[in-house]
Each structure stands twice: as structure tokens, then as C-alpha cells.
Amino acid sequence: MGEPYPKVIAHDLTRAFGRGPRAVAALGPLDLTVAPGEFVCLVGPSGCGKSTLLRIAAGLLRPSNGTLEIRTAGPRPAAMIFQDYGIYDWKTVQANVRFGLDVQRVPRREADARAAGWLSRLGLADFAHAYPATLSGGMRQRVAIARALAVEPELLLMDEPFAALDAQLRTILQDELLELTQALRTTTLFITHSLEEAIVLGDRVLVMSARPGRIIAEHRPPFPRPRTGDVRATPEFSALKSELWDLLRKEAVPA
């Protein structure tokens, strides 16, 4: 790496919803530093403000207090992958993947070539001209991943991208994502409910408290890169998972 500056710095970040006496504090105060190329996983109970943090990073929402700085060259460094509803039913798979490039006015020929590259990389080449409604859930989420990566974002934001998938498919997509991100080294903020997912994917796992979400623990899964899904079977994996679960259970119970 060698880059001295962090990619993302959040300082004293908070967000409340509503006004006056009915205001609800959703997030923070939260401080966070993410190094370039780092894959950071955030786990926490429902409603703890994980998504709020991601939406602030994406520029969809402003913080109530504090700042979040992204060190970047361009004005739109981030791409986001949503849990659902992210891809458009009225566009073919290829047009969906090309969407970000179309918005950035990349010439059609180049955009098609780049989209085709990502389609084959994610095993979607045969479905390029299909509509998303005809695809399975796993395929749809692959389309969403391809669409986000096609713009070559400096910062990848993933909001529980596999939450709607069944357990087997989740595992498969986790392994695929692991392989992809280890090759790309894109700085990533990844939100999940699944401890297993966080430990397999993350360079760092941050545990958040119940609302308003603050970071209460930080762990670095002790698995060197490049790693594969096989780490799930190791004793260190189970030990870390139960350690994190003990933390998380205390936060999740009152909710």
C-alpha cells in the first residue's frame, strides 16, 4: 500500500431523525478510520444506524453533526450495493451493469466492452440480454455487484447485500466476493447481520452497539490474505465468532 493517508475518516459523526422532542438519535457519536484498500465489516443489531452510516458515506444523507471525509480524486467516488431493489427490472442485465457508465457518459462502445468484461467475470455472460425478473436471487445480486464494480469505484459500500439470499447461496457469493475483492483491493464498507460473513470477508470487523450506534469493539480476523472460504472450518474462526456473538447478544437483546 504505502499510502500514508486514510481513505475514509469519520469524526464525531452523529445522525438524528425527526425534529424537536420526537427526534430519535440513530447513530453515533462515531469515529472511524479506514485505510486504502481495507475491507471493513460493520455488524450490529437491527436499527443500530449501520445503514445510516453507509448512506452518509454515499452522500444520500447528511450527518447531524461531525464530518465524514473521503480522500478521493473525483466528486463521486462511491458505489453502493443495496440489499434489494437496487437493479432495475426494466433494463436488461447488460444495461443494468452499464447503468453507472451510462450515467458517467462513457462512450457506448467502451461501456459495452467494460460491462461485458464484468458480466463474464461474474458468470453472467449468458444472461446479458435477459431481464432481471427472469433471474434467481443470487444472479440478481451478482448483477448488482457487477454494476457497482463496473464504475471502478474508489469506495465500495455494501448494505447487507446477501441478506435476502438463502444460506447456501450466501456462502457461495461470499466466496466469490472474497476472490473479487482480494484481486481488486477496493476500499469497502460492508454491512451485515451475519458474523460469519463479516469474519470471512473483513480485514477488520467492527461491532456496533444498539441505537444510537457506536463502535464497541474492533477485531482483525487472524487469517492472512489471500484467504478462501476454507477459513470457516478453522478453530480460530469459531472462537472469534463466539467472542463477537457474546458482545452482540448483549446489544441485540433489548431490541
Partner: protein, 287 residues
């Protein structure tokens, strides 16, 4: 939420609180004030322009009387009691027709939405009747009910019926299977299914239809009163035009507009009370 414009400082993109976050109460109050003043200022400006045009003689005041003339005339007629019989006649017809049409449309929409056989039997017929302009049915209603209130009320009812029927039927058909299944597994009787599942699940969409129907009801009664009534606002409008009392004509038009707004707001208000769980017209920010 709206998309926040990026603020670039050198090579660092900073997400920071905006005015809405830093001073939420003040920003909200300013926004509300702006919205309300726009809502009032735009019509006021247009009326002012009209007044100016009449005063300056840009338009023929005999054909388009000045707003002030209309206001004074309307006030005089209201004070003298000449206006109320017409307003009352129209209101009565709208309310009666609306009640009958809504009840019938809701009932049939419910039946057709939940029973495929009833739908198969009636849908083509009703679709065909739906496209017949209801005003063309007025002569039929005149033959059926004779002169008087009957044909007017029937016309409003027929118009309202179709709007409510269509929105009810599609709303009931759109109730997710999961909702029905949950009720069925608990052994809900048809009435319980209606009371606990179909009625509340379809109500928001039905109310949209009911609100549209409220506006159309006023629309159609005015048209039919012009053709076949001896009182009511529609009659007033056409009659005064025939007598070249254009100011009275405009008084009638303003009354119709006010009546229409009041009526559809009333339906909207009733709808809000009936569906406290449904999202408001304006979405709230998501967390």
C-alpha cells in the same frame, strides 16, 4: 432524502451537516412558510392580474367581469339569500349520488375482487358500460326517473360507481396472497376475512378512487344541471349566461370550485382517519 451535493476540498470529499441538520427547526419552519406562501401567492397573483386586466380594459369587462365585481356580487347574492338554494341543491345531489355510487361500487368491487366467477360474469359488461360517457345516460335516467332529483342523483351515482368499483376491485385483487393465507390458516370465515384482512388491506387504494370520484361527482352534476334542472349551480351558471349576467355566471363557477375542493378534502380527511397506518401523501425520510 435528497441527494447531497458533494463538497470537494482539495482531494478530500467531506460529508458534513447541511442547514437542515444544523438548524432543523428553523429550516423546517422556513420551508413550511415558503410552501404555504407559494400556495397562496400563485392564485392571488393570478387574480390580481385578472383584476388589473379588467381595470385597464385589456379584457372586455362585460364578458370577463373583474374579480372585485364577482366578489361583491357573490356577497350580495349570498346576503340576500339568492345563492344558497342553488348551492344546497347541488350539494344535496352530489352527496346523495356519491353515497349511493360509493356503496354500490365498493360492494361490487369487493365481490368481483374476491370471487373470480362473479368477476368473469360481470367484468366485460361493466367494462363496456364504463366507456359510455355518463352524460349520455342522462336521457335514459330522465326516462326512468322522470323530472326532478332522480336523474341527477342517478347520474352522479353511476359516475362515482365506476371509479370506486374499479379501484376496489383492483385493490382487493392486489392484496398479497400471504395476507389471505395467514387468515385462512387461522380459519377465518368469509366475514372475518373481509373484516380483518381484505377491508383494511384494500382501503388505501379504495380511498384514492373515492377521492377521484369526489371531484368527478361535482364535475358531472354541474354538467347535468345545465341540461336538465331548474336549480343548482350548473343551472345558475348556464341560466345567467343566457341572461348575459356574466358576473353571476362567475359567482357560480367560483362556488363550484369551492364546493369541489371542500368535498374532495373532506373525503381525504375521512380517509386519513380511516387508515392511520397508511403512509401520508408526503413520504417521510427513511432511516
Amino acid at each position: 432524502m435528497t441527494t447531497v451535493a458533494p463538497e470537494t476540498r482539495g482531494s478530500v470529499l467531506v460529508r458534513r451537516p447541511g442547514p437542515r441538520e444544523l438548524r432543523p427547526v428553523r429550516t423546517h419552519r422556513r420551508r413550511r412558510t415558503l410552501e404555504l406562501s407559494l400556495a397562496a401567492a400563485v392564485p392571488a397573483l393570478l387574480v390580481l392580474l385578472w383584476q388589473l386586466a379588467a381595470a385597464r380594459g385589456w379584457i372586455d369587462e362585460r364578458v370577463y367581469p373583474a374579480p372585485s365585481t364577482i366578489l361583491v356580487d357573490g356577497w350580495d347574492r349570498a346576503a340576500a339569500g339568492d345563492l344558497w338554494p342553488d348551492v344546497w341543491a347541488t350539494t344535496r345531489r352530489v352527496l346523495a349520488g356519491y353515497a349511493v355510487g360509493t356503496a354500490a361500487g365498493y360492494l361490487l368491487g369487493l365481490l368481483m375482487g374476491s370471487l373470480p366467477l362473479v368477476r368473469a360474469a360481470l367484468e366485460p359488461l361493466l367494462d363496456a358500460l364504463y366507456v359510455v360517457p355518463k352524460l349520455a345516460l342522462l336521457p335514459v335516467f330522465l326516462n326512468m326517473f322522470g323530472l326532478g332529483e332522480g336523474p341527477q342523483v342517478a347520474l352522479v351515482a353511476a359516475t362515482v360507481f365506476f371509479f370506486v368499483w374499479i379501484s376496489t376491485m383492483s385493490a382487493v385483487m392486489a392484496v398479497p396472497d400471504g395476507h389471505r393465507d395467514a387468515g385462512r390458516v387461522f380459519g377465518a370465515s368469509p366475514w372475518q376475512m373481509f373484516r380483518h384482512v381484505l377491508l383494511p388491506a384494500s382501503l388505501p387504494a379504495v380511498l384514492v378512487g373515492a377521492r377521484i370520484a369526489a371531484g368527478v361527482a361535482v364535475l358531472v352534476i354541474v354538467a347535468s344541471e345545465q341540461i336538465a334542472a331548474s336549480d343548482g349551480l350548473g343551472h345558475l351558471i348556464f341560466d345567467s349566461r343566457a341572461l348575459f349576467q356574466n358576473d353571476v355566471m362567475f359567482v357560480g363557477i367560483v362556488c363550484v370550485a369551492v364546493l369541489g375542493v371542500l368535498f374532495s378534502e373532506l373525503v381525504r380527511f375521512a380517509g386519513r382517519l380511516l387508515t392511520p397506518w397508511a403512509p401520508r401523501d408526503r413520504g417521510r425520510g427513511q432511516s
